[in-house]
Amino acid sequence: MADFSGSDLTCLRGERLVFGGLSFSAKSGDAVMLRGRNGAGKSSLLRLMAGLVAPRSGDLRWNGENIAEDRTAHHARTHYLGHQDAIKPVLTVRDNLRLWGQLRGVRDLEPAIDRALTALQIHHLARVTGRYLSSGQKRRTALARVLIGQSDLWLLDEPTVGLDRESCAELAQLITEFRGRGGIVVYSTHIDLDVENPTILDLDDFAIPMVEWLAEQDDLEDMAPAKRAASSQEAAQ
């Protein structure tokens, strides 16, 4: 039973405070749906969860262990799908996928690629080079990557972009299967993806104005010595 949680996360992008004080928790089989207006920090949160960016404050824990302590282990259990499909125009779909399987050390890689391609119904495209794919087909190839190799956590950033209605239904089906195997899915989407009772995390709730946050930081610094004194007193008692 895996457990993925974040507490009191603050994300700073450049000079802008994206969100603050965000906490969440998910267990094996859970799906978390990220909602929020454009720029609310859905992508930023997924990048934090992937370990691509470090949070300004707060921490992310997998089974109670901070993900920053063992990044390799976190990367091995996580599949991240970003905005970009990372498909090389001169390589075939199969060659494109092979690299990611090899990097994960997947055994019996070719059958695994076949299964992933079949699951996304793009098996007929296996020998087509990236440049001839439509944007929906590219997205499906990127999704096929997520199916290759063991993982416990899927982080999907707008997975439905470019997908038609049927593909969205298939994606929902894949997510359900993955949850059935005990996986955790965190995803952001603008359309309704037919996922069973996801936990909804609305990022608009965690938007805080910069001024307020800065003031709070000052307070914390002022308070810090007093707090420390108080806690050491408690410890003494």
Binding site: A73, Y80, I87, L103
Partner: protein
């Protein structure tokens, strides 16, 4: 190790399919070297005197020409992001990419160099030393260049910036590379220069992957 081979294989396959990069680097090297006889005149003694320097400077410029592309394409299409997130250490993957870069740009330069030496009327006593020096020098150029290539990710006009960042760091390779050939031409042993070049290569091999990985992670922020 599998990750290292996987990325090496993919980069070589990409280079093979796209092809143009290697050819362009060698063509640039040949054209630049050819400009010198036009500039300084066809006096064979003068050309023989400056040959080693000209070949090295042209090789530096040619190697630099391809640097911008080392990470740029992967950065733009999101591949670099996924490489950072793969369970294989980023340093190892970068080493694989640098080796692929050297095989597709450094190695062709070494093969083309003796031809240019003949054109510049260099004495043939210097040929072997020239090739050995380039064998030690060009991998160091790729390694050092990778740091610059990673630092410019996300910057506008990256190509110009990378030359400003990297060319000063190439100076030691230039000095000892040209020095080794000079020594061989004078009939003295070039061992000292070659040993220093080997030392530069080892230092770059030890430090550059870490510096580059750090710069790449910085670019992901």
């Amino acid at each position: 190790m599998n990750g290292f081979l996987a990325i090496l294989q993919r980069d070589l396959r990409l280079a093979l399919r796209q092809g143009a990069d290697s050819v362009m680097v060698v063509a640039f090297f040949i054209v630049t070297t050819t400009l010198f006889p036009f500039g300084v005149g066809p006096e064979v003694n003068i050309l023989a005197r400056i040959a080693s320097g000209v070949i090295w400077v042209s090789a530096l410029l040619a190697a630099m020409l391809s640097l911008e592309r080392v990470f740029q394409a992967d950065y733009e299409d999101g591949t670099l992001e996924l490489l950072t997130l793969s369970p294989v250490s980023l340093e190892l993957l970068i080493l694989g990419k640098v080796l692929a870069h050297w095989l597709t740009t450094g190695l062709p330069l070494i093969i083309a160099a003796p031809l240019m030496a003949v054109m510049l009327n260099m004495d043939q006593d210097g040929f072997v030393t020239l090739m050995v020096a380039m064998l030690l020098g060009t991998p160091a150029l790729s390694l050092i260049g990778a740091i610059g290539a990673a630092l410019i990710l996300g910057a506008r006009r990256g190509g110009v910036l990378v030359s400003l960042l990297v060319l000063p760091l190439y100076i030691p390779v230039l000095i000892f590379g040209a020095g080794a050939v000079e020594a061989a031409l004078l009939g003295i042993s070039a061992t000292a220069q070659l040993q220093i070049m080997a030392a530069i290569l080892l230092l770059a091999l030890a430090a550059a992957p870490f510096a580059t990985a750090h710069a790449v992670r910085q670019a992901m922020e």
